[in-house]
Subunit: 665 residues, 2 copies
């Protein structure tokens, strides 16, 4: 009788979880429809938006073609991997496809919303904001719903929790890495290239239609900041849930599983409510709407978690507190990131001050700002690890990670809003809209910059906690209870692991500077060879620039991706399971540190430039020139290497978990 | 009877060790005399050299005054530290004084040799080279002889090996840190400031006497590259020997002690022979003489170690092989550093290529070069750790570290030669010597640049191995046999430890950019206010610039130094002995990685600039301007933050060893 009761309960739980996910998807569908209703009258606008959409899709398809080969190879490998087999391999493919699908839908929505945001700007800021945010919310809701549905569905079908979720996670992670790296290279090659020749050499403004690289730059925002970021957070989310399930099922059986699933479902529901609120609010500053929505959904999620904790754990509150720790650290790190990267605070002002003595001092000051910003974030992380572990052991750490990500649907919505607003501004500029429209898109865009910086700090912290709980999952899977850094092999593992984020960053930064160089040469060639191009009479060859970014990104995403998968396997096989554990710890430490440093230095340089533009110095001044150089250095830091490191550390941990049986002696 | 025999042997060993050290000191005395015999006729030369010497000494005395306070406070603290007591505290003071003395003697020799090198250049390259190298050799021989004598003498007097050598090591380390950080800030504040206003703004050449910051720059070479580097390697040397003795005495009693002492004494003798050879060789390129001398002393040391290994370990060869591993890794890392930083190879050429598209791409390419260069060095380190540990356990790792440093007297001689030649060039330029003399000093100077880069790679590796064996010593002292990264407190320790080198680099880089800014303002003021200064009629106020560098360096060396001492104690007391172990591992990993990155990026930027000057682009071209900016960014990387990290990781390990009793529960 008791068993039947439990069984019944399980079904009810699953129905709730799946129901909420489907509701979120319906919400996304509704938003898609509401965006579609906006008409774009301006012919020129439509043309430009068409090229951007076409370029974005062309990139995505070429990327997916390359990834298809990778997926097939991995599928075959996984079929023969002990502990995973065909069923794990199927989950792998599903994870990979859902990750790609989330990116695809997000990008379709974004490329539909960008031009409509520009069009709605003629009716005022509020309608424009609503379209841009709705575009972002479509991806936010889809990413999270896919994640929950995928895990829940496989759990029902296969029941074998290990194969299901590790396979699924590996699929999501590996696609995420390629998308993040490829998208990051694409967007920054275009950005750096277009800026250096356009702004610095030819002296024409940003987003000027005479610049042949300008559309590639806008495409880049979509493939990098939309599709890349979507896959990134999809995999953080999936990774965190996976490790919570694996660690929870060991200690608490189905109780651990359903607490986790219902908690994330509640977070999705809270985010959905947040999305409705943000859309409905009428405010002057977009940031206010985002803040209200975010704090509201966090509050709802806290209440829901409290209830779930009391219900599932017989009145015990520790699961609740671990989730609160995760949420609190997420919010705090967001605030710290803002302090270090927004020009309302001292750090960025000091970089602006240093710009007066030239680019070298600008770069030194910005670089040391990033280095310094790691201190407090790391102390917070360390405290949250100790706190959540003392509360709930390894499962507690995993719950903190899941807690931090529980309202991620809203975070993604706000994050994706940024590049959509940015694109809208580009389209308005390129299609020659009046000043008033451009002002509105600028306001929307600048709100997007702050949210982007905060989003980065958040995704680093969630990546750190997720990687950490995956690391503990790995130890449990491989059956080691001690990873002793006093043994030489573990030490060697820590050193090698610590080095990988350095190597990985070198490869991605170099890829950007290589591709940017090719872009620069092409733009210079067009300026030279196309008659009348700088007078606005000759038509620039946009597609050629798009092609350069596309092929460069796809070619150069492969090596870093392969290293991420092969390195842990190699160390595990050659030096053993403990050494691989050392590698994971080493890469976690330097990966997190480098990611924080790069995100904050990059963000600070960016805002220093904007600060100088808006203040005394102004555009064209010596200090502005110095700040432009700093910003260019920061571009691949914050948008290519930095965010890719998040995925690197998670992917290596998942690879370790999946291939664990290989490393046992 | 056997006991008496052993006793007799011990005395013989000690006599040999002390005898060789005294011979080396006599050698240094002889060199001092030989330099003194060189007469400087040129009045202007003497005047300039006088200001440099005065400025250097003034800095050193002000630095020592501040350190005296620190030493007294620490002395009192140590008297009451369990396990150390008054006797350990006396050793602490001796270590501190010897470290300071080594820096002082080195600086006196260097400021005597610089002007005499310039004077001898009128008689040809060979005599000039001999004076410059002799100046360097004085410090090389003193540093090593002081290290051996100090350890050996205390061993005879006190017999309590723990208190003796940890106290001695702590003294050497803490002084080294302050000297490295202070010297690094001094030299780069002056260098960056003088360059940015002089070369970039006023368009006057380097070392031009019209530039008020130019003498501070030359003083900086002495306080940073001579005194700072001397203290750094003194403490590496002492630290490595300490951990070898502590680990050796446990496993092998007096056998371990005397093998280590005789092995380093043999290395000193081999270096002494190397010094004689370098002075005697008549070659076209100075580098050839250095290479012959270095390889010869390494070969001699290998033979001596083979004999000692056979003698002390009854025919066993493993101690020999660990020393060979250390020597081999040292030589290989030197070669790798050369490949990444010399313009004869592809990496620097690619940075030069990237300079064509401006400073941003120059910096991105140089930065990724540094990141990438960590890969192979780390793999070598990892291999050497595993190898030496498998051969001889923790003692094996310590022996590898000592082996790497065994011929360090010659390494220091060659390294110190660099800034002396650099100074000689400055003095020749400022005193208006003819072109022919300037050419000779330029040749000597450029040889010094390559040796400086190689020396940096070497000191990082030796610091890593030394820190590692100190880490193992710590575990042994505190009595923990397992440091398990699966426990949350150790993990937190690893994260915090990993963060410290980031924070530390931020503070030192910021210190440079802050002080450079003050220097820039002062130089601009003088250009503005002193009439006729740029026409060479008005006399610049050199002393004011020297003062700015001095007080900035001394004020800003304190915080980083205090962090290095306080952070490990705090973590040990709050989170326990295992967490402190985690901290040491974390700081070791990121400290080594950042140090390699900074040294190689900095070296590459420097040589990119020189490469462009010597090739197509030339001075004044756009790519040269870009390269100058890269070089300026690299200055605090390679000469302030990077080298200080070496000491940071060693000092924190020594602090952990010394205060071990505090962390036991």
């Amino acid at each position: 009788m008791m068993g039947v009761q439990t069984k019944m309960n399980d079904i009810v739980y699953l129905v709730i979880v799946i129901g909420i996910s489907l509701a979120a998807l319906l919400g996304a569908l509704f938003l898609m429809g509401s965006i579609g209703k906006v008409k774009v009258e301006d012919e020129k606008m439509r043309e430009i938006a068409g090229i951007i959409r076409e370029g974005s899709m062309a990139y995505l398809f070429r990327q997916y073609k390359v990834l298809a080969v990778f997926i097939v190879v991995m599928f075959i490998v996984l079929c023969f991997t002990p502990g995973l087999g065909v069923q794990g391999a199927i989950c792998f493919i599903t994870g990979a496809l859902l990750s790609a699908l989330a990116g695809f839908i997000g990008m379709r929505a974004a490329t539909k919303a960008n031009v409509r945001t520009a069009a709605e700007a003629s009716r005022g800021q509020q309608p424009a904001l609503r379209v841009a945010f709705s575009g972002g919310a479509i991806m936010g809701l889809c990413v999270v719903a896919f994640g929950i549905l995928g895990i829940a569905a496989f759990y029902v079908i296969f029941k074998d929790i290990f194969a299901v979720i590790t396979g699924f996670g590996l699929g999501a992670s590996s696609i995420a890495l390629f998308c993040r790296v490829g998208g990051g290279i694409y967007t920054k090659a275009a950005d750096v290239g277009a800026d250096l020749v356009g702004k610095v050499e030819a002296g024409i403004p940003e987003d000027d239609p005479r610049n042949p690289g300008v559309i590639a730059d806008n495409v880049g925002d979509n493939v990098g900041d939309v599709a890349g970021m979507g896959s990134d957070l999809f995999e953080s989310y999936v990774g965190a849930i996976i490790s919570a399930l694996l660690l929870g099922v060991v200690g608490f059986a189905e109780k651990g599983v359903f607490f986790t699933l219902l908690m994330v479902a509640a977070g999705l529901l809270a985010s959905l409510i947040g999305v409705v609120i943000v859309r409905a609010l009428k405010v002057k500053k977009p940031q206010t709407a985002f803040d209200v929505g975010t704090y509201l959904s966090v509050a709802l999620e806290i209440i829901a978690t409290l209830a779930l904790s009391l219900y599932f754990f017989d009145g015990a509150l520790w699961p609740f507190w671990t989730v609160v720790i995760g949420l609190a650290v997420g919010v705090l790190v967001g605030k710290i990131t803002e302090i270090y990267t927004s020009d309302g605070y001292r750090p960025v002002k000091r970089v602006a001050e240093a710009s007066k003595t030239g680019p070298a001092t600008n770069i030194l000051q910005g670089f040391s700002l990033g280095l310094k910003s790691t201190a407090i974030v790391i102390l917070l992380l360390a405290a949250s690890i100790i706190g959540s572990f003392m509360l709930g052991g390894a499962f507690g750490v995993a719950l903190a990670a899941v807690g931090m990500l529980s309202t991620v649907a809203l975070t993604i919505s706000v994050d994706t809003y940024g590049p959509i607003a940015d694109n809208a501004g580009g389209i308005a500029e390129m299609s020659g809209q009046p000043e008033s429209i451009r002002e509105i898109t600028d306001t929307l865009d600048s709100a997007g910059n702050t949210t982007a910086a905060i989003g980065k700090g958040f995704s680093i912290c969630s990546a750190a906690l997720t990687a950490l709980s995956l690391f503990m999952t790995y130890a449990q899977t491989v059956g080691i209870t001690v990873i002793d850094v006093l043994t030489p092999k573990v030490l060697a593992g820590v050193l090698i692991g610590g080095m990988l984020p350095f190597l990985f960053s070198a490869l991605t930064i170099e890829a950007v500077s290589k591709s940017a160089n090719r872009m620069i040469e092409e733009i210079r060639r067009q300026f030279r060879e196309i008659p009348g191009i700088l007078e606005g009479k000759g038509k620039p060859d946009y597609k050629r620039c798009i092609d350069i970014s596309t092929s460069a990104a796809i070619r150069q995403m492969i090596l870093p991706g392969v290293i991420a998968i092969v390195a842990p396997i190699l160390v595990g096989v050659l030096l053993g399971a403990e050494a691989l554990g050392g590698l994971l710890v080493g890469s976690l430490v330097t990966g997190v540190l480098m990611a924080i440093m790069m995100a904050n230095s990059g963000g600070a340089w960016d805002n220093t430039k904007k600060h100088i533009e808006a203040s005394a110095g102004g555009k064209g001044s010596e200090e502005h020139k110095a700040a432009v150089i700093g910003d260019t250095v920061g571009d691949p830091f914050k948008d290519t290497a930095g965010p890719s490191l998040n995925i690197l550390i998670k992917l290596m941990s998942i690879v370790a978990v999946v291939f664990a049986p290989l490393f046992l002696r």
